[in-house]
Each structure stands twice: as structure tokens, then as C-alpha cells.
């Protein structure tokens, strides 16, 4: 299994990379961690004539910044580095909770989180997390820079709205506001596999431990990550009075997952309902045990 032939470009600056992308546009692809692109090329599912290797652009694309509002990562921040970052984990715990489910540690040493967003796999965890948190991607090209909201970024399975000449330079994962708790889990045939079904939850409670909002997003269920808003179902209800199993049914009745080799549509609906029940409870419990400024 060998990749098709291509011309290799190793730009030393982002500006140079953008020039190469503009020149070759539909014939060029960005090479980041290669953990998806190299196998896809080896299986001859893609055969770009030009590869633009961004791995030498560490000066411009390696920043990992955490502030009160959230976490911003450059295109060269590998999954493993983000997963281990304590400040990021404290501010936006959902990111680390989900990253632990992305492939195996060895793949995470090389794969980039921004690359995973650009790859837009419906079975990938991080697009779901970006959508659930309402984050964005910053893309740059010789035409300029634009900020793309998660809701607009994913347009189809394995398809983002990035133009052929655009480089995703960073992504922004905002922290939820208020007294929040998050949870993420998934069910796979084998540990480290892509999930048959996965889910992330963000719960926000008030001082009386009543729900202010409750949102959920699923992995391997939709072509593009969709956020299910359960707020109307639970608003004003105290956390311990909510029937979490009923929330599972609510979600199950509102999704239309695909059936494939890995799991039938009905099995996926069942898994989504089980995960909803477990994770809504877990997220709310975390919101209660954490106080403003000391989240875990």
C-alpha cells in the first residue's frame, strides 16, 4: 500500500503555505498529523497532486492559549498535548474528556485537533465537541482571514466549508457560562476504535440546583454534528427531580442514525438513549460539585 505520487511542499512560513495552496488550489491538500490523510491516500481514496506539509510552521501554529473565556489552539497542537494541558482541562473539561476517546495514545501523539475538525468525520469526537460548545475555526488564505462558527463549518460527512486555498490556522473552544458540568462517553466494539455511538453533554444549573440549560451532541449519528437542546424539557426542574431515563427516550425519538456494518440504526438509537441517561446525570452532578472558578 503506497500513496500515489505527489509533489511535496515544505513551506517555512504560513504566508508561503498560503501561496502554494492558492497556486494549486483544487490539486493541493494540507498535510498536518497525517493520521487520516496518509491512510486515505495509501488506500487511494484521495490523490492530491500537491501536499503542503505544515509541520515546520511551529512558530506560527503551535500556540495553546487558555483564558477565562476558553481555549484556543493552533493548527499544530497535537491531540496528546491538548489532552495533557492542565489549564485547558480546568477551563473546558469537555475537551479532555472527549480527547481520551480519540484513537490510541500513539495516534494522538501525531494527530492534530484542528486536523480532526478539518477532516469532519461524523464518527470523530472533536467536531461534536466544537459544535456542542459553540466554538469556531479561524481560516486563512491569500484572500484574507475569516472566522467560521461550528454551526457553519461542517457541511457534510468528511466535508468542511474550508475552501481549497484555505488553511485552518486555529480553533476556539469556549467555556460554558455559569455553573456548568460536562460529560463525554462513547461505546465502541474495541477500546480505541471509532465509536458506534458517542455523546457529549453540557449542563448548566442555577444556585437552587435547577436546570438553566441542557445540551447534548452525538457522535456517529448525524452526517454533521448536531446539537440537541433539551433545555425546554428540563428548565426550572431540580437536578434530582429529572427523570434521566425519560431524557434518553426523548433523544432516541428525535434521531435518525444510519445503520451500517458496525451497528444497526436501532442499536445506535438504543445506545444514544443509554448514553443520554448516564451522561446527563453525570454532567449535572459535576455542575453541583464544582464552584465558580474551581471547575473540574
Amino acid at each position: 500500500m503506497k500513496t500515489p505520487k505527489f509533489t511535496y511542499h515544505a513551506p517555512r512560513t504560513v504566508a508561503e503555505a498560503l501561496d502554494v495552496l492558492a497556486e494549486h488550489s483544487t490539486d493541493a491538500k494540507v498535510l498536518a498529523g497525517g493520521q487520516s490523510l496518509v491512510p486515505v491516500m495509501a488506500m487511494r481514496l484521495a490523490s492530491p497532486a500537491h501536499l503542503v506539509d505544515i509541520n515546520r510552521l511551529t512558530d506560527e501554529l503551535s500556540a495553546l492559549e487558555v483564558d477565562d473565556a476558553g481555549v484556543r489552539i493552533g493548527a499544530l497542537v497535537r491531540h496528546a498535548r491538548l489532552e495533557r494541558d492542565e489549564a485547558a482541562a480546568a477551563r473546558v473539561p469537555l475537551v479532555g474528556q472527549a480527547l481520551r476517546h480519540v484513537a490510541h495514545p500513539t495516534i494522538r501523539n501525531r494527530g492534530t485537533t484542528v486536523g480532526s475538525l478539518a477532516h469532519a468525520d461524523p464518527s470523530a469526537e472533536m467536531p461534536t465537541v466544537l459544535a456542542l460548545l459553540g466554538g469556531h475555526v479561524v481560516a486563512r488564505s491569500v484572500r484574507g482571514e475569516r472566522t467560521i462558527d461550528a454551526a457553519d463549518f461542517f457541511v457534510g460527512p468528511m466535508e468542511s466549508c474550508l475552501g481549497y486555498d484555505e488553511l485552518a490556522v486555529s480553533a476556539w473552544f469556549p467555556a460554558p457560562e455559569g455553573r456548568f458540568g460536562t460529560a463525554f462517553d462513547e461505546i465502541c466494539r474495541r477500546h480505541g476504535d471509532y465509536a458506534m455511538c458517542g455523546a457529549g453533554v453540557v449542563a448548566v444549573l442555577d444556585e437552587a440546583e435547577q436546570y438553566v440549560s441542557l445540551k447534548l451532541s452525538l457522535v456517529s449519528v448525524n452526517d454533521v454534528p448536531e446539537v440537541l437542546d433539551l433545555t425546554e424539557v428540563v428548565r426550572g426542574t431540580a437536578y434530582d427531580e429529572v427523570d434521566h431515563a425519560a431524557l434518553g427516550d426523548w433523544v432516541r425519538d428525535r434521531i435518525d442514525p444510519p445503520g451500517d456494518l458496525h451497528a444497526s440504526a436501532d442499536f445506535r438509537r438504543h445506545l444514544a438513549s443509554v448514553l443520554t441517561k448516564r451522561l446527563t446525570r453525570e454532567a449535572a452532578a459535576r455542575a453541583i460539585t464544582t464552584t465558580e472558578g474551581a471547575r473540574a
Partner: protein, 179 residues
């Protein structure tokens, strides 16, 4: 990295500087050559094994600047100026087997040996990072490597033994320097 024109073979070649097991190497290769193929074909280091060639089995795992990576998913040209450690580079400077290698011998952690180079590199990095793993952590550490014949019980035992040997050797060397 210098480009050479190989119009005869219709494919771009580059001369690449690599550091493999501490040795600087220069090699000219087609840009689409993966790191595992470069190690095996261009440098003759056939200790790195190639199984699935799409990142799933872990046989090809090498250390890049000390961290395990799949050499089948990395272009050799992207490894330029990085430190690559293969299974051939794991032995101690005095020629002794490394703690991880010794542990796999002691615990029967290999049978046919096909998957072993990937386990050895992965586990060597793991016990550096976590010198005192629990059985659960040891199992998790090899979760991304497939073995079709030894069975994982002995491999997990080897991981735990590797950590022990590493500690034993550390005490030996401090005692040695005290004396």
C-alpha cells in the same frame, strides 16, 4: 533538504537528513516514501515491522523525539531533523538489553515476534513517562498494539516487569556511583 530531478522515474525525490538511533543519516528518497519503508529499505533497519500500513496494528511504532508514533503514517521527508529511535536503538550503551527488552524475554512476552518491535518502542516510552504503572495502566498502554499469537497476559506482565527492571537498574547505578 535538496530536490533532485528524476524525470526518468517521473517522481520527485529529495535528499533528507535523518537522525536514527543517534546517528546522522542522509538519504535520497521519493517524497511519498513512508518513514517505515525508508528505515527498512533505505537504511536497512528491518527491525521495524510493517503490518497493516494504516495505523491500526502498531507493529511499525518508532519513537520520534522520544514519543511513540506510527512510522507507516509518517512521510520520511516529514521526519527531517527529528530524532528517530527504532527497536535497534533500544539496547543500552554497554550492549545489554534494555529493561523493556529484558522483560519481554523474562515474561515470554513474544512468540513469533512480528508485533514485538512496536510493543518494545511503545512500552519503552511508557515506562519513562509512568515508571510505576498499575496493571490497569499497563494494559491501557498497549491498547493500541495488536498481537496475534503470544496473548496479552504475558505482554501486560512484561510491561509491569519492564518498570521493575528499570527501577532495579536505577538503584544499581546509584549504588555503583556511591561505591
Amino acid at each position: 533538504m535538496t530536490s533532485t530531478d528524476h524525470t526518468d522515474v517521473g517522481e520527485q525525490h529529495l535528499e533528507v537528513r535523518l537522525r536514527v538511533n543517534g546517528m546522522p543519516r542522509r538519504v535520497e528518497l521519493p517524497v511519498r516514501r513512508t518513514l517505515c519503508d525508508a528505515l527498512r529499505q533505505d537504511l536497512g533497519l528491518t527491525g521495524t515491522h510493517v503490518g497493516c500500513e494504516h495505523g491500526v496494528c502498531g507493529a511499525c511504532t518508532v519513537l520520534l523525539d522520544g514519543e511513540p508514533v506510527r512510522s507507516c503514517l509518517m512521510l520520511a521527508v516529514s521526519a527531517e531533523d527529528h530524532d528517530v529511535t527504532t527497536v535497534e536503538g533500544l539496547t543500552e550503551p554497554d550492549g545489554r538489553l534494555s529493561p523493556t527488552q529484558q522483560a519481554f524475554v523474562d515474561c515470554h512476552g513474544l512468540q513469533c515476534g512480528f508485533c514485538t518491535p512496536g510493543f518494545l518502542t511503545t512500552v519503552s516510552a511508557f515506562i519513562e513517562e509512568n515508571p510505576d504503572p498499575t496493571p490497569e495502566e499497563a494494559r491501557e498502554a498497549v491498547g493500541g498494539n495488536l498481537c496475534r499469537c503470544t496473548g496479552y497476559q504475558n505482554i501486560v506482565a512484561s510491561v509491569l516487569r519492564a518498570a521493575e527492571i528499570q527501577k532495579e537498574r536505577a538503584t544499581e547505578s546509584t549504588e555503583g556511583s556511591d561505591a
